[in-house]
C-alpha cells in the first residue's frame, strides 16, 4: 500500500513537472501564470496545488531544465519568469513521448474492456 502511494505520488510529481515544462514551452511565464495556464488548458480539470508549484519550479531550475529571470508582469510588478532551457526542451520531448505511449496504452486497455 505504502509503495503504491509512493508510486502514485511520484507519478503525480513527474506529471506536474511535465505539465510545467509544457506550459513554458513557447514563452516565459511566472509561477502564477503557469498555474493558471494549466488550469485553463485542462478546463479546470487540473488544479495545481500552489504549495506544490514552487518547490517543483525550483527543483526544475536546479536540475537545469528551467531558466529564470526577473521581469515586469502585466500588473507592472516585478515577477520571476521561467523559461525552458535546451535541456528542458529535450526532457519535455521525452516526457511527451512517454506520456503519449502510456495514454495510448491505457486507452487501448480501457476500450477493449
Amino acid at each position: 500500500m505504502g509503495a503504491a502511494e509512493a508510486n502514485s505520488g511520484e507519478l503525480l510529481r513527474d506529471t506536474l513537472y511535465m505539465l510545467i515544462l509544457k506550459a513554458v514551452e513557447h514563452r516565459a511565464l511566472h509561477g502564477y501564470a503557469i498555474a493558471s495556464l494549466i488550469q485553463k488548458r485542462s478546463d479546470s480539470a487540473l488544479k495545481v496545488e500552489e504549495g506544490a508549484l514552487y518547490p517543483a519550479l525550483h527543483r526544475l531550475e536546479v536540475r537545469g531544465l528551467l531558466g529564470s529571470e526577473w521581469g515586469l508582469s502585466e500588473s507592472r510588478r516585478r515577477a520571476k519568469y521561467y523559461r525552458l532551457t535546451a535541456a528542458g526542451r529535450k526532457q519535455l520531448a521525452k516526457e511527451t513521448a512517454r506520456w503519449k505511449f502510456l495514454a495510448a496504452a491505457i486507452a487501448r486497455v480501457m476500450e477493449t474492456a
Binding site: 502564477y32 500552489e50 504549495g51 514552487y54 525550483h58 536546479v62 500588473s75 520571476k80 535541456a87
Partner: protein, 842 residues
C-alpha cells in the same frame, strides 16, 4: 550524470547566495498571492476577503518556502552546520566541562603520540642499514674468568684470530672511539669519531654520499691516512665544500686525505653505545671515521686491552648460532695468560638490541604508563560525557517535542563529541610535537637513536582514532537513551533535575570504578618510581657537590710522547686552579665519579689471593693528591696521597673493596696487584688508605633492575704520574657558594656561554669540557656557571696560552694543504661558531 553535475553546481552557487535566494523566494510568493488576490477582487470579492482567500488557498507559506528552499541546499551540510553552531553554543555554555574534556583529550593524545613515537623510532624501526637483521655485535665472553668481561668488548688481537680462522661465517669490522684535533686555518677544534676497519661501510651497506669508502688496502694493518666525514661535520666545519674529497686535512697535526662524506641520513650509534656499559669520556657522537691502523701493542691476543667493538654481518644462510660456534672455535685459541679453567667463547647480539638494549625496558615501561594514561583519559572522558549527556534530558525532551527526530538528536551529540575531539586532538598534536622537540634537545635520560626520533603519522592516527572513538562512543550512550525516551513522548518527566536512569548510573559507576583502578595502578607505579629515585639519589650522593667544579681537557698522545711532559702540564693546571681566588682545593683525575667505566681491571690482594672468577672488578682512576679533598671524597682509614707518593706503587681503595678482604687482614698495608699495560709482570701496590664509597658510574634504577653490588666496579685510586691517559678532569672545591647564586655579570656572560661549549681544543694544550659536580651526578644539562667557574676557565686558559705559545708555530695550519672550503678571511667568524681558544698569535 550531466544533470547530477548541474544540480551540484547550482547548489554550490546557491550555498553562497542563500540570503539572496530567500529574498527572491519571499518576493515570488508575495507576487503570487497578490496576483491571486487581484483575480479574486476582479471577480467581485472585497479586498480583505480576497487577501484572506488567497492566503488560504496557498496554504502554509512558511512550509512552502521551506520545501522550496530544499531544492537549493545540501541538506546534510546545512544540518551539520546548524548542529555545529548549536554544539558551539552548548560547549560555550559549559566552559569548565569543555576545558576539562579538551585538556584531557590533548594530554592523552599528546603523551601517547610523543612516547610511542620515541618507542617506535628507537625500538621498533629497523636500523637504517642494508639488511640490518644480519648485523650483529660480537662480544668476548670468558666463562669462569675475570669479572670485567661482561662489561668490556673485544681485544683487537683476538679479533684478528677470528678473521683468520672463521672467514666464511661472517664479515667482521672492528672499531674504537677516538678523539682528534682538527686543525683548521683559524682554529683548532676537538672532534670525536672512531677508528674503523676499512670494510665497516661495506658491512653496513652504506655508500658515502660523495667520494668513496676506504679501500681494502687501508684495512686493519693499513696506514692511518684517510678520513671519511659525516655530513654534519662536513657542513659544520667545511661549509659543505663540494671539492673536499681528495683534499688533505690535518688531524692531530698529521695529514689525512678525505675519502668521502657520508649521506645526511647516515646514522651511527654514539661512541659508547656499542659497548656494554658506560665508558667515561666516550659519550660523544661519532663525526668522522679514520682507518683503524692497529699499533703492534694492540694486536697481541689475550685478556687485556679489551677496548674495541666488533660488528659482524652474517653471510647468507648462516645462522647466529653457527657463526657463534665458528667464531668461538677461533676464540678458544686466545691465550688465557695462565688463568686456569677459563673458557673463552664469543656471544653475538643483534646490533639493534646491542644499541638500544639498555633503554628497551625503560621505554616500554614509560609506554605502558602512557597507555594506562590513555585508558584513563578515555574512561575519564566517557564519565564526563555520560554525566553531561544525562543532565540534558530536559533539553532533548523539548527538542523532540519541537519535531527533532531520533537521528537529529544522535547527530547533535555526535557533532559535539567530534568538536571536542577535534579541539583536543589539535592541542594534543601540538603538545606531542613540542614535547618531542624538547625531549630530543634535552633528554633527561640517555636514549640511544635519539636523533632519529620524529612524530610518526601512523602513531598519531592510532592515538587520535582511540580517543575520538571513545569520545563518540560515550557521547552516544546517553544520546541513545535520551532519544528513546524522547521519542516515547515523555517530555513531562524530563524536568531539569531528572536523574538519569539506572542503566546510565550503572555505566557511570563502572567507569568510576575503572578510573579508580587505573589511578591506583598509576599511583603505585609513581610511588615505586619515587622510591627508586630517592634510592638512586642516595646511592649517587657524592659529598657537597654544589661547591665542586670540574673541567675536562684532552692531551693527545701524539703531542705528549716526551716523558714527563703531560705531568708537567697537569702540575701547572693544578697549581693555577689552586691559586685562583676562592679555591680550597684542586686536583685531577682520569675519570670523575659516575662518569662511567675507565680503566677496568680485576684486583687481587697479595694477602688474600683469589681465582680469576672470584676476583672483584675494579675501575682504576689516576689522581693527584688533592683530588679527594677537592672532590669531597672522605677518608675512612689510612691516609690520602701526598706529593711524595708519585712514582711509588700506592693505591687508595674504596670502602666496599676493603670489605672483600677477610677480617683478619687490615686493608691499610695490604697489597693489590696492578698489571701495567703491555707488561706480564704485576706490580704490587700498597694500600695506603680507604676512601668513602664513590661509584664509578651512576646507579641505573630507571629500569627497576639494580645492578648487583658485586657487578659494580670498585673505584681504585692511584697517583696519576706515569700513566698515559689522554683525558683529564680538573676538580676544584670552593669556599662558600658558587654558581647560580652569583650569576656571571653581563660582561662575562657572553664569554661564559662560549666557554660552555664542550670540547674546545688547541694543538698542544687541553681541550675542555666544563661542568659542575652536580652535572656529573645527574647527567649533564645546561647550567650557567658562576664566578668560581669563570676563574677556573680563565686559569686553564692562561695555561693553554703558556703551553701553546712555544709550540704553536709547529702546529700552525699548513695553508697549502687546506681545502679552499676551510679558509676564512682574517677576523671572520670561525666556521663552527666555537670560541677560538688558546691559538693566540704570539
Amino acid at each position: 550524470m550531466r544533470e547530477a553535475f548541474r544540480i551540484l553546481r547550482a547548489r554550490m552557487k546557491a550555498f553562497w547566495r542563500r540570503r539572496e535566494l530567500d529574498r527572491d523566494l519571499e518576493e515570488e510568493i508575495a507576487f503570487h498571492l497578490s496576483e491571486k488576490q487581484r483575480e479574486l477582487e476582479e471577480a467581485g470579492a472585497l479586498a480583505e476577503a480576497a487577501e484572506l482567500a488567497a492566503r488560504r488557498r496557498f496554504g502554509n507559506a512558511s512550509l512552502v518556502k521551506e520545501q522550496t528552499r530544499e531544492a537549493w541546499i545540501f541538506r546534510s551540510v546545512e544540518n551539520t552546520l546548524r548542529d555545529g553552531r548549536y554544539a558551539v553554543r552548548v560547549l560555550r555554555k559549559a566552559p569548565a566541562f569543555t576545558a576539562i574534556a579538551v585538556l584531557t583529550l590533548a594530554f592523552g593524545l599528546g603523551a601517547n603520540t610523543a612516547i610511542f613515537s620515541v618507542v617506535k623510532s628507537v625500538l621498533l624501526d629497523r636500523l637504517p642499514y642494508k639488511e640490518p637483521g644480519r648485523l650483529y655485535k660480537i662480544q668476548e665472553v670468558a666463562q669462569d674468568g675475570p669479572k670485567q668481561f661482561p662489561l668490556t668488548c673485544v681485544n683487537a688481537g683476538n679479533f684478528l684470530l677470528w678473521t683468520r680462522q672463521a672467514g666464511p661465517a661472517a664479515d667482521l669490522a672492528l672499531l674504537m672511539p677516538s678523539t682528534h684535533y682538527l686543525n683548521l686555518k683559524d682554529e683548532t677544534v676537538e672532534i670525536t669519531g672512531a677508528r674503523v676497519s676499512a670494510n665497516l661501510f661495506q658491512i653496513l651497506g652504506i655508500q658515502p654520499w660523495i667520494g668513496h669508502s676506504f679501500s681494502p688496502d687501508e684495512d686493519v694493518m693499513g696506514k692511518a691516512g684517510s678520513v671519511i666525514l659525516t655530513n654534519a661535520l662536513w657542513k659544520r666545519l667545511f661549509q659543505s665544500y663540494p671539492g673536499i674529497v681528495g683534499q688533505t686535512i690535518r688531524m692531530n697535526g698529521s695529514p689525512k686525505v678525505v675519502d668521502g662524506v657520508l649521506p645526511e641520513s647516515f646514522y651511527f650509534p654514539k661512541q659508547n653505545e656499542l659497548y656494554g656499559s658506560n665508558i667515561a669520556g666516550w659519550t660523544h657522537p661519532i663525526e668522522y671515521f679514520v682507518n683503524l691502523a692497529l699499533q703492534p701493542g694492540e694486536m697481541r691476543p689475550g685478556l687485556q686491552m679489551l677496548n674495541f667493538a666488533a660488528i659482524g654481518r652474517l653471510r647468507p644462510g648462516i645462522s647466529a648460532n653457527l657463526a657463534t660456534e665458528q667464531l668461538s672455535v677461533a676464540e678458544a685459541q686466545v691465550p688465557t695468560e695462565g688463568l686456569s679453567g677459563v673458557k673463552m667463547h664469543v656471544a653475538l647480539h643483534p646490533l639493534k638490541t646491542a644499541i638500544v638494549g639498555g633503554a628497551e625496558r625503560k621505554l616500554w615501561m614509560v609506554m605502558a604508563g602512557a597507555a594506562l594514561v590513555l585508558l584513563l583519559v578515555c574512561v575519564n572522558l566517557a564519565g564526563l560525557l555520560i554525566a553531561k549527556g544525562a543532565g540534558r534530558a530536559h533539553e532533548i525532551g523539548v527538542r523532540a517535542a519541537l519535531g527533532a527526530g531520533r537521528m537529529d538528536i544522535l547527530r547533535q551529540f555526535l557533532i559535539e563529541a567530534l568538536m571536542l575531539s577535534a579541539a583536543g586532538g589539535t592541542l594534543g598534536m601540538a603538545a606531542a610535537y613540542w614535547g618531542l622537540r624538547v625531549l630530543v634537545r634535552a633528554a633527561p635520560v640517555q636514549i640511544p637513536r635519539l636523533s632519529s626520533i620524529a612524530i610518526d603519522e601512523r602513531v598519531l592516527f592510532f592515538s587520535a582514532a582511540i580517543t575520538v572513538t571513545s569520545a563518540v562512543l560515550f557521547s552516544l550512550v546517553p544520546a541513545l537513551w535520551l532519544s528513546r525516551r524522547s521519542s516515547a513522548g515523555t517530555v513531562k518527566a524530563s524536568g531539569p533535575n531528572t536523574t538519569p536512569n539506572r542503566a546510565i548510573s550503572r555505566i557511570h559507576h563502572a567507569l568510576a570504578a575503572m578510573e579508580i583502578a587505573f589511578c591506583t595502578v598509576l599511583l603505585v607505579s609513581a610511588i615505586l618510581l619515587a622510591q627508586s629515585l630517592v634510592r638512586v639519589m642516595r646511592a649517587n650522593a657524592w659529598g657537597n657537590v654544589s661547591h665542586v667544579l670540574t673541567l675536562s681537557f684532552f692531551t693527545p698522545h701524539t703531542h705528549y710522547q716526551e716523558p714527563g711532559r703531560r705531568a708537567q702540564l697537569i702540575t701547572k693546571v693544578i697549581e693555577s686552579a689552586r691559586n685562583s681566588p676562592g679555591v680550597e682545593a684542586a686536583g685531577i683525575t682520569t675519570a670523575l665519579p659516575f662518569q662511567g667505566q675507565a680503566w677496568g681491571n680485576d684486583v687481587d690482594f697479595k694477602e688474600d689471593p683469589k681465582t680469576a672468577k672470584d676476583r672483584p672488578n675494579a675501575n682504576w682512576r689516576f689522581v693527584s693528591p688533592d683530588y679527594f679533598r677537592a672532590a669531597g671524597i672522605g677518608l675512612v682509614s689510612g691516609r690520602f696521597l701526598t706529593g711524595f707518593d708519585y712514582g711509588r706503587p700506592m693505591v687508595l681503595i674504596s670502602q666496599r673493596l676493603a670489605k672483600e678482604l677477610p677480617h683478619v687482614v687490615r686493608p691499610v698495608g695490604a697489597h693489590l696487584y696492578w698489571m701495567p699495560p703491555g707488561s706480564k709482570t704485576p706490580v704490587w701496590c700498597e694500600v695506603i688508605g680507604v676512601t668513602a664509597d664513590v661509584r664509578a658510574q651512576p646507579e641505573e634504577a630507571e629500569d627497576g633492575q639494580h645492578q648487583r653490588d658485586e657487578e659494580v666496579p670498585h673505584p681504585v685510586h692511584r697517583p696519576h704520574r706515569g700513566v698515559a691517559a689522554e683525558r683529564i678532569d680538573v676538580v676544584e672545591s670552593q669556599h662558600g657558594r658558587c654558581g647560580h647564586a652569583e650569576g656571571p655579570d653581563d660582561e662575562h656572560a657572553g664569554q661564559l656561554e662560549a666557554d660552555r661549549r664542550p670540547r674546545h681544543a688547541v694543538p698542544d694544550a687541553p681541550g675542555r669540557d666544563e661542568r659542575d659536580g652536580r652535572q656529573d651526578v645527574h647527567g649533564g644539562g645546561q647550567r650557567r656557571q658562576g664566578e668560581g667557574h669563570r676563574r677556573l676557565v680563565e686559569a686553564v686558559d692562561d695555561l693553554e696560552h703558556a703551553a701553546t705559545g712555544r709550540r704553536q708555530r709547529e702546529h700552525a695550519v699548513d695553508e697549502d694543504e687546506q681545502p679552499a672550503g676551510t679558509r676564512h678571511p682574517a677576523g671572520g667568524r670561525p666556521p663552527s661558531g666555537r670560541r677560538r681558544c688558546g691559538l693566540r698569535a704570539g
